[in-house]
């Protein structure tokens, strides 16, 4: 590599200044001043540190995430309770059987929810049997209703899960679907779907 021009000469010829004298294995170093914009980002981040720590942390101008969550989740719970109360006020067993269950849109929506969530444990055909044996849920098509067979009972069961005193099915209890993944309306739709699938169980409920 001896034919290469000496780097220092090349640099000086180009008018680049402050080339440090010492070479390391042929590597030379300029000593350019630090780019201003770079210094600015560095200083800005340090100033940001001081301000952010002093304001958000030490002075606590904002709620902590914990305070914020308690406030928000409480609000959501209230909204949900109001939603349920509103639905419960307008729903009756009779309205379920003769109103919602006759509405194809609601039944179709309920079927969709049932197949994605409920069928995991109760099976699509409500038998709670899978290809390899029983599923975790109770069968729904055996005309037995452990926690009450009226549409409103079933609504509450799906809404809030198995009651606290229940020992579950081999320990397994139904989750409070209406409190976690499903809205009250979706729960009511699922109940409507069940009514259409099990007309026998609900035939005694008179029209409103």
């Amino acid at each position: 590599m001896s034919q290469e021009p000496k780097r220092g000469h090349f640099a000086k010829a180009k008018g680049e200044i402050i080339l440090r004298e010492h070479e390391f294995d042929g590597i030379q170093e300029y000593d350019q001043k630090l780019p201003n914009w770079w210094l600015f980002t560095f200083y800005a981040a340090i100033v940001w540190f001081v301000c952010h720590w002093a304001l958000y942390y030490q002075a606590g101008v904002m709620q902590t995430p914990q305070q914020f969550i308690v406030q928000e989740i409480t609000k959501i719970q209230q909204a949900k309770d109001a939603e349920v109360a509103k639905l419960v006020a307008e729903l009756t067993d009779a309205k379920f059987v003769h109103g919602w269950a006759k509405d194809p849109e609601r039944v179709a929506a309920g079927e969709g929810t049932f197949l994605t969530i409920c069928a995991q444990c109760h099976a699509a055909d409500l038998s709670a049997k899978g290809p390899n044996g029983p599923l975790p849920g109770l069968p729904l098509n055996d005309h037995k209703w452990k926690f009450g067979g009226k549409p409103m009972d079933i609504f509450k069961l799906v809404m809030y899960g198995s009651p606290p005193e229940s020992t579950g099915n081999n320990g397994a209890k139904m989750q409070a679907w209406g409190q976690t993944q499903l809205s009250p309306k979706q729960v009511a739709e699922v109940v409507s779907y069940l009514i259409t699938k099990l007309p026998e169980d609900f035939k005694d409920i008179p029209p409103p």
């Binding site: 630090l34 980002t41 995430p65």
Partner: protein, 825 residues
Amino acid sequence: MTTSITYDDKSVRRFMIASIAWGIIGMLAGVFIATQLSFWQMNGKFLETLTGGWIKGDGISFLTFGRLRPLHTNAVIFAFVGNMMFAGIYYSTQRLCKARMASDLLSNIHFYAWQLIIVAAAITLPAGLTRGKEYAELIWPINICVVLVWVVFAVNFFWTLAKRNEPSLYVALWFYIATIITVAMLYIVNHLSLPTSFTHSYPIFGGLQDGLVQWWYGHNAVAFFLTTPILGIMYYFLPKAANRPVYSYRLSIVHFWSLVFIYIWAGPHHLLNTALPHWLQYLGMLFSLMLWAPSWGGMLNGLLTLRGAWDKLRTDPVIKFLAAGVTFYGMATFEGPLMAITKVNALSHYTDWTVGHVHSGALGWNGMMAAGMFYWLAPRLWKTQLWSKPLANMHFWIATIGILIYIAALWCAGIMQGLMLSEIMPSGTTLRYEFLDTLKEIQVFFIARAFGGFLYLCGFVMLAVNIWKTARSGVAVEETVEVTLLEKKQKDGMGFCAAILNDPIAHVILAMGFVLLWFFLPPHANIAALLVAVLLGFKAVSAFRASNGAWTNWHERILENYLPFTVLVFAAVAIGGSVQIIPTIIVNRGKNIEGRLQELYTPLELAGRDIYVSEGCYNCHSQMIRTLVPEVMRYGRPGVADDWSHLGESIYDHPYQWGSKRTGPDLAHEGGPIAKKPDGTLYSSMRVGKRGNDWHFYHFLDPRDKSPGSNMPSYWFLFEKETDVKALPGKIKAQVALGVPYPVMTDADITDRVETQAQDIAKSLVEAGAYFPKKPQLQGDSLRNHLVKSQGVALIAYVQKLGAYKNVKKAQPAEPSSLNPDSHR
């Protein structure tokens, strides 16, 4: 006096070849596990098809994602980048010191022992032998070997420095020094464990402390294993290849010291929005933001060195790779601070965005720098020309395209999943999507990512071919040079007192001390400390100006004295971790638990937990409900407004299992209370959580049976393997030694408790009509007797326990304590 010196280039060649070989294996593992995310059959089922049914099973334990992902990460970090780093360091250190490596024996031991460690890792990790902490999975006997080899490397390196024939240390060497001492510190502290057998141990830290130490280590493994040595390599090979002087010496100084000092503090940004105390979260985020400029200092010094040599970009593949590597470094170090902002992190964390980010570093920075270095080295090490420039160019483009596809796909996947998971229905009371919905939605990006990674791997195979052909076309040579021997007094003549007791250091220590007081003092006093710190800062600047070059001379002189320099580097890197970890160790245990204290695991549950860790479940499942509203809505229990994961809920977890990525849902509150028997009385220890035992049973056998579309491996083999009950007394003894308050239990007590709980669970499964498809002949009692002993039942026991705690008292602010800044708020 001059003498002729022959450099040890044989070691360089060996490390380089090892790096290429392990690189291909590590990347192949990466592509393989990437396909597992889209096709569950890749967890072993595919062998059934390949071998025409000779190998049977829905999943094979040593091919599951949970076991292979650690193999991939360890292979690319420690085997690929590790060997590459050693090749670069051995090559450049000898030339920068004008001295042969101090001891050929140590070089040999270093090389062979490191490869043996990698082989041991490649055997133990798929076998499920793991410590359960990311990038720190290797079991304790291997840990000890790693430390010993690292010491061999360090001795060899520092000995070479001592024998150098160059008075001053070049910037590359500063970065190597920082690498060697910091990695040693991080590795040792994060691997402190109490062995329970030759292959198993518990980390001595638990819960929050373990999480903090883990990410202090994990983040700085990225910093000091994947970044600083490669920066050193950049500082040597880039000016060499470009044949241009380094852009700015003073930028080197400023960015080196700021980088090594600040990097260490940024670890807690891996735990933002978790139960981590607020002050640590703020430190993690704010130091990450301050890290942006120092990181870019390195990028600038790399890219601006190319000024006047940009035309070579057209013709020289080496410059192509180095320039692209430095550019990716700049991109990744901009993205990092961005993701460390608490609000951005709320979206990005636990998603594939993080995975994409780390790969823009690993593929873009490490991989491209490695390729550039290898293409530069090969012709010199074998005294020939590069076999094929066009092939190297082809490698460059295929790698670049591969990376871009990879990161873009994971940006889309991560951001999309993050947004979907926090999307709330218009009513404002329920979430729109199930976890599984989001997973199905990002499948297309997973496939694109696997394709991008595959392209990158193809490029790397081209490199291997090219280097192989180059080596074959030349002969291995050891470079010999004439050097002027230094006289003793020309180097290392500065005493420790002169090096350390002086104005610059005094100013820095004082200012730093007041900054720390600002963090920790009670209100008002802290503001006073801040003011003093700022004043000291100004005073330092004016003293520097007034020093008439004395401060500059001091730094110049310290560069001629490698030991004091090393001591200062160690001080700079030790401060951050000490300030964050030591107060947490002193304060948090038992006191700061936010009102919830974890219930102890029963012996069976502990066995189940060890299986959970061993199978690497933490690679896809977190156990941390973050302090975010959608997260509490999704994973919290109905009617509990403060149902994020509190500090005390995992305080006895050795190792902690908060996780870092969710390919499956969070499991923090998956478990539940002790179940009731049909007669209404309570079981002795069997619990049932969100889902019943039989749900879990079927789900482990075939996840798609319960969750259609899931990509989780099938864990049927857990119901074939027996739980290691005999190891439990020893394990519980170890837990007690670590401070977990187990009551005194005899070995017989432990066995009895395991038997009772396992019987209850097995019975509940059999009564629920469980059916084990692999052994249909097992029915009733015979099935129960089979299940009782199985690992699957222990794992079910553990999963049903997750999130069990007792309310200690109403959460109230901790007593004011100067080691716990949160208590002053």
